[in-house]
Amino acid sequence: MFLEPKITIDELVHRCKTGQRKAQEMLYKRLAAKMMGVCLRYATDRMEAEDMLQNGFIRVFQKIEDFRGDGSFEGWVRRIMVHSSIEYYRKHHRMMQVVDIDEAGQEPSVNAAAASSLEAKDLLVLITTLSPGYRMVFNLYAIDGYSHKEIAEIVGISEGASKSQLSRARAILKEQILKAEKKSYEYAG
C-alpha cells in the first residue's frame, strides 16, 4: 500500500459485510500481524500459531455480520482469536496439561530491572516453554485481561484452578528469568 488516503477499519468492515472480497483482504492485511502475535503466545510453535490464525480469521469473516460497531473492531477480532486459539488447543491436545517439573517451595524473587531488560522475543520464548495449561491461564489473565471467572468458562476449569495455575505460572516464569540472568552473568563474567 502506497501513500493513499487510508480507508478506515470501520469502512472496511462495512464493505466486508456486503461480501466485498477486496475489502476482506485489506482487513486481513491490516490486522494479520497483530493477531499472529496473539496466536504465537498461545501456540506451541509457529505452525500451530498459523493454524490458529487461519481458523480465527475464517471465524471473523463468518461472523462479521454480528459485529454491531459497539466497541473496537480490533478488540472484537482479538477476542475471536483468543477463543479460536483455545478451541484449537482443546481439539488437538489432551486436557490442559499442567506439569510441575520444578517444585519450587518459595516464590523466587526477580530483579525488576533485570526482568525489564528482557526483550519481547525472550519473554515469548519463556511463555512457550510453559506447560499448556499454565500458558493459557497466564496469557488470558496477565496479558489479555480476562477474569478468573471468564477463564474458568473458556478453558473449562474451576475458578480456583485458574487462580492456582496462575500463581504457578508466575513462579515458573520467574525461575526461568532467574536462570537466564545467571547464565548471562556467567557468560559476561
Binding site: 499472529m36 519481547a120 496477565a142 496479558i143
Partner: protein
C-alpha cells in the same frame, strides 16, 4: 517484584507483539470464506423457482390429454356392442369407467415406464386375479380387467369382454387410452373442459417413456434435430436416436425395412 508488575511487564512487551504470518495464509482463508458467502446467494431460491416452473409446465402440458380420453373408452365399448343383451351393460360400463377415472387420479402413481409395460402385459395375460371395482355390474359377462400390475393394484379399468373379432380392434386402442389416462392421472387432478378446444386432433400418441421425452423436448426445442431424441417405433424400448448439443450432433439413421 509484585505480581501486578510482573504481569504488566509481560503485557507491555507482548501485548502488541506483531509478527507477519506466512504469505499463503490468506489463500487458505479465502478458500473457506468464499464458499461460505456463496451459501448466502440467491442460488437456492433460483433452483427452487426453476423446479416449480418445470413442474407447472409439465402439469400444464398434460392437461389437454385428459378430457378426450375419458370419453373414448365408453364410445369404443358402445361401438363394439351394438344390440344384444350386452347393450344395457354398456351404458353403466361407460359410467363406471367415468367413475373409475376420477379414482385413478386420487392414486399417486409414480413410475410411468413400469406402468406402460404392466398395462400391456395385463391386457395380454388377461389377469383376472386382481380385485374388481365393479364386479356387480358385469357379473353376467366374463370380466376382462385391464389393470396395471403394480404392487398396489391401484387402478382398474374394467372392459367388457368383446367378441374375438372386435378384440383385436379394441386392444390397441384401449391400451393407448389406458396409458393416456395414466399419464394424465399422474399429473393434474382438475379437468378444465375448455382445454379440449386447444387439443389438436392429430396429437401423436405417447407410447413409451422415450416418446414422452420427445414430446416434452419438442415443446421447447424448435430445431429440426432436437437436443435429445428417443426412438418411438417400438413401444417397449426407449433408445436414444439422436443428440444435438450444437457442438456435438449424433443421429441414428432411419433404416427402412422392406418386406419381401
Amino acid at each position: 517484584m509484585q505480581d501486578k508488575d510482573f504481569d504488566e511487564l509481560f503485557r507491555n512487551k507482548l501485548g502488541d507483539l506483531e509478527v507477519e504470518p506466512s504469505k499463503g495464509l490468506w489463500d487458505n482463508i479465502t478458500a473457506e470464506v468464499v464458499i461460505d458467502k456463496k451459501d448466502r446467494s440467491a442460488l437456492p431460491f433460483i433452483s427452487i423457482a426453476a423446479s416449480v416452473l418445470v413442474l407447472v409446465a409439465a402439469g400444464l402440458f398434460f392437461i389437454p390429454k385428459i378430457k378426450p380420453d375419458i370419453t373414448k373408452p365408453s364410445k369404443l365399448i358402445a361401438l363394439n356392442h351394438t344390440g344384444g343383451q350386452k347393450t344395457n351393460t354398456v351404458v353403466p360400463k361407460a359410467a363406471e369407467i367415468k367413475a373409475v377415472a376420477p379414482q385413478i387420479q386420487q392414486v399417486a402413481v409414480v413410475s410411468l415406464p413400469v406402468k406402460q409395460h404392466s398395462v400391456k402385459q395385463s391386457i395380454k395375460k388377461q389377469n383376472s386375479g386382481l380385485p374388481a371395482l365393479n364386479t356387480d355390474a358385469i357379473a353376467q359377462q366374463q370380466p376382462r380387467q385391464i389393470a396395471p400390475q403394480t404392487a398396489h393394484n391401484d387402478v382398474i379399468l374394467a372392459a367388457v369382454n368383446p367378441d374375438p373379432l372386435a378384440q383385436a380392434a379394441i386392444t390397441p386402442t384401449v391400451t393407448a387410452e389406458v396409458k393416456d389416462t395414466h399419464i394424465a392421472a399422474l399429473t393434474v387432478p382438475a379437468l378444465p373442459a375448455q382445454t379440449i378446444a386447444t387439443v389438436q386432433p392429430k396429437k401423436p400418441r405417447i407410447r413409451s417413456f422415450g416418446d414422452l421425452i420427445n414430446v416434452v423436448v419438442a415443446k421447447v426445442d424448435k430445431r429440426k434435430d432436437k437436443l435429445i431424441e428417443f426412438s418411438n417405433k417400438d413401444d417397449d424400448e426407449s433408445l436414444i436416436t439422436g443428440i444435438n448439443l450444437g457442438i456435438i450432433r449424433v443421429k441414428k439413421e432411419e433404416v427402412i425395412a422392406t418386406n419381401k
